[in-house]
C-alpha cells in the first residue's frame, strides 16, 4: 500500500498540491485522472521520490520516501516518466538491460538475461532490439521505457501517461499487459491516464485530482459515474452502457 498523508507542494508561489492524503491499494491498477495541471504528475513524482517532499509523508509498503536508500527504493518501485526525451544513443536492448541495474549493478546474470528477453517479448520489441533509441518512433521509444520498468521487476510500477504516442493496438496491448501483471504476479500499478475509456475499462481503483486536491477516489465502478466525471472536468460527460462494456462519451 502507498500511504500518502498531508502532502502539499509548492513551486515558488504556485501551490501545486494542497494537503493530499490517500491510500493506494496493493495488487491493483490505480488510475490517476484529472484535468491538466491538477497535480497528477507532481503527486506521482513525490510518490516515487523523484521530487523531494516539502510537507507531509509518503510511504510505500514499509519504506518511507526520503529516508530510503535509492537502491532499496529502486528494488521496490519502477517509474516510467512522462516525455522520455533521451540525449544518449542506446540500443533498445541496452536500455531494457539497464532496468536490471538495481539488481545487478552492471554485472548481469543468466536470470537478468531471461528477464530482458521476456521484456522484449512482452512489449513486442524483438524486431527493434538492436535499433538505437533515436532511430525508433516516439511510441516505440515509449514502449522501450515501459519494458525497461518491467525488467526492473518491482512490486510497484508507476507510469506517467504511458499511452502517449501509442497507436490503438499498442495502447490496448499495454493496458492488457499491465492488467495481467496485476492479476498474475500481484504487481501494484499506478498509472496517470487521460483517456477515461482506458481508465474505466482497465483500472480497479480511481484517484481523481483537481486543482491540486483530491476530488474523489474509490473502486472504479463506484466512483466513475457521469456526475463525478462531469464535475471533475467541468464538461458534460456521459457513460454509455452497451451489453458488456462501458463507454465514456465526452467528445460532442
Amino acid at each position: 500500500m502507498i500511504d500518502i498523508s498531508g502532502v502539499s507542494y509548492a513551486i515558488g508561489k504556485a501551490q501545486i498540491l494542497k494537503d493530499v492524503s490517500l491510500h493506494i491499494p496493493c495488487g491493483q491498477i490505480t488510475a490517476l485522472i484529472g484535468p491538466n495541471g491538477a497535480g497528477k504528475s507532481t503527486l506521482l513524482n513525490l510518490m516515487s521520490g523523484q521530487e523531494p517532499l516539502q510537507t507531509g509523508t509518503v510511504s510505500v509498503d514499509a519504506l518511507h520516501i526520503g529516508q530510503t536508500r535509492p537502491r532499496d527504493l529502486a528494488l521496490k518501485m519502477a517509474v516510467v516518466a512522462q516525455h522520455v526525451g533521451v540525449a544518449s544513443r542506446l540500443r533498445v536492448r541496452d536500455l531494457i538491460s539497464f532496468g536490471r541495474w538495481p539488481h545487478n549493478q552492471g554485472r548481469p546474470t543468466a536470470a537478468d538475461h531471461t528477464m530482458i528477453a521476456q521484456a522484449l517479448d512482452r512489449f513486442d520489441l524483438n524486431a527493434l532490439a538492436d535499433r538505437f533509441l533515436d532511430e525508433v518512433s516516439g511510441g516505440q521509444r515509449q514502449r522501450a521505457f515501459v519494458a525497461m520498468a518491467y525488467a526492473q521487476d518491482t512490486d510497484w510500477l508507476l507510469l506517467d501517461e504511458p499511452l502517449n504516442n501509442l497507436d490503438l493496438r499498442h495502447a490496448s496491448r499495454l493496458m492488457a499487459e499491465l492488467h495481467r501483471l496485476a492479476r498474475e504476479q500481484d504487481k501494484s500499478i499506478v498509472i496517470v491516464l487521460h483517456d477515461l475509456n482506458y481508465a474505466v475499462a482497465w483500472a480497479d481503483h480511481v484517484v481523481a485530482m483537481k486543482n491540486g486536491a483530491l476530488a474523489f477516489e474509490g473502486a472504479t465502478q463506484k466512483v466513475t459515474n457521469a456526475e463525478n466525471l462531469s464535475a471533475l472536468y467541468d464538461t458534460d460527460v456521459r457513460l454509455v452502457q452497451t451489453e458488456d462494456e462501458v463507454f465514456v462519451a465526452h467528445h460532442r
Binding site: 513524482n45 516515487s48 521520490g49 523523484q50 536508500r69 535509492p70 537502491r71 532499496d72 527504493l73 529502486a74 528494488l75 518501485m77 519502477a78 517509474v79 516518466a81 522520455v84 526525451g85 533521451v86 540525449a87 544518449s88 544513443r89 542506446l90 540500443r91 541496452d94 539497464f98 532496468g99 541495474w101 538495481p102 549493478q105 552492471g106 538492436d130 538505437f132 532511430e135 526492473q152
Partner: protein
C-alpha cells in the same frame, strides 16, 4: 551482441601509428641500426618513445573526459575546452606562477585542477536554468563563459608579463616532451582507466537525473566522480603539453554515431580513437614542414573540423 571489429581496427591503427611515430623525426632512426647504435637507442628512450606515449595518453584521456562531460551535461556539443574548464585551469596556473613560482610542478598541477573544478562548477550552475528543449544554448553559454575566463587570463598574463606562458599552455604540442617531463600524463591515463570501471554508472547518468534516480543510482556521487575526472585530466594535460581543442568533442561524437553511447562498449574505442587522432596530428605536424614542426593542436584543429563536418553532413544509415 559483442561487436569486436571496432576494437580490432582501433588497436591496429594505434600499433601502426605508434611505429610510424617512433621512427619519424629530425634525428635519424631506423629499425636496422637502432639495436647496435647507442646514440640511436638513447634518442629512442629519451625522446621518441616518451613523445609517442605522451600523445597516446593525452589523446585517450581527453577523449574520455569529453564523453563523460557530454553524458553528464546531456549535450553532444560540449567538451572541457569549450566550456571554460581549460580556461579556469589556466587561471589557476597563472595564479600559482605569479604568487608561488617556486612550487613543484605537482603542486601547480593541483592548483590548476582546483581552479578547473571551480570552473566546471560555475558552468554547471550557469546551465541549470537553461531550457532543456534548446540544446544549442548550453554550448553557446559554455563558449561565452570560456571566453570570459580566457579574457581574464589574458588580461592577468599581460599585466604580469606572462603572455608567453599563456601561449605555451594554449597550443598543445609535443616537441618539448622528453623522458622525465611527461610522466604526469600517466595519471591522466590512470584516470581514464578508472572512468572505465564506472562506465555503466556514467551511461545510466546519461539517461538523466530522474531516470538514474529511479534505477537507484547515486547520481550526486557519479556527477562528482565525473566532474573531478574531467577537471584533473584537463589540468594534467594543460600543465604537460597544453590545450588540444576539439578532441574531446569530435571523437565521442564519431564513436556515438557509429556505436552508440553504452560506455561499457564504447569507452575503449573512444580512448583509442582519441589517442590515434592526437598521434596522427603529431606525426603530420612533424613531417608537414620538415624539419620544422606544427603544433599537434593546430593540425587537429584542421583535421577535426573536416571529420566533424563529414559526420554532420553524411546521410545517417538506416
Amino acid at each position: 551482441m559483442l561487436r569486436t571489429r571496432p576494437y580490432l581496427l582501433t588497436g591496429l591503427a594505434l600499433l601502426i601509428l605508434s611505429g610510424v611515430s617512433i621512427f619519424i623525426g629530425v634525428g635519424q632512426l631506423s629499425l636496422g641500426t637502432v639495436w647496435h647504435d647507442p646514440a640511436a637507442l638513447q634518442l629512442l628512450w629519451i625522446s621518441r618513445i616518451p613523445r609517442t606515449l605522451a600523445a597516446l595518453l593525452v589523446g585517450s584521456s581527453i577523449a574520455v573526459a569529453g564523453v563523460i562531460m557530454q553524458l553528464l551535461v546531456r549535450n553532444r556539443f560540449v567538451e572541457p575546452g569549450t566550456t571554460g574548464t581549460s580556461e579556469a585551469a589556466m587561471l589557476g596556473l597563472l595564479a600559482v606562477t605569479i604568487l608561488a613560482p617556486g612550487w613543484p610542478i605537482m603542486a601547480k598541477m593541483i592548483v590548476a585542477a582546483c581552479a578547473s573544478l571551480i570552473g566546471i562548477a560555475g558552468f554547471f550552475a550557469l546551465i541549470r536554468k537553461l531550457p532543456p528543449d534548446q540544446p544549442l544554448m548550453i554550448p553557446l553559454v559554455g563558449l561565452i563563459y570560456g571566453g570570459i575566463l580566457g579574457a581574464a587570463a589574458t588580461f592577468i598574463a599581460f599585466q604580469a608579463d606572462l603572455i608567453q606562458y599563456l601561449g605555451v599552455w594554449m597550443s598543445g604540442e609535443f616537441s618539448g616532451v622528453l623522458a622525465g617531463r611527461y610522466e604526469l600524463l600517466w595519471l591522466a591515463g590512470g584516470l581514464a582507466v578508472l572512468a572505465y570501471l564506472a562506465a555503466d554508472q556514467f551511461t545510466v547518468a546519461g539517461l538523466g537525473q530522474k531516470a538514474s534516480l529511479s534505477l537507484g543510482l547515486r547520481y550526486g556521487q557519479v556527477l562528482t566522480l565525473g566532474v573531478v575526472t574531467v577537471a584533473l585530466v584537463s589540468s594534467l594535460v594543460i600543465v604537460t603539453v597544453g590545450i588540444l581543442p576539439f578532441i574531446g568533442l569530435v571523437v565521442p561524437n564519431i564513436v556515438s554515431r557509429l556505436m552508440g553511447d553504452n560506455l561499457r562498449q564504447t569507452l575503449p574505442v573512444v580512448a583509442g580513437m582519441g589517442a590515434g587522432f592526437v598521434l596522427l596530428s603529431d606525426i603530420i605536424g612533424r613531417v608537414a614542414r620538415y624539419p620544422y614542426e606544427i603544433p599537434a593542436g593546430t593540425v587537429f584543429g584542421v583535421l577535426g573540423a573536416v571529420v566533424f563536418l563529414w559526420l554532420l553532413l553524411r546521410k545517417p544509415h538506416a
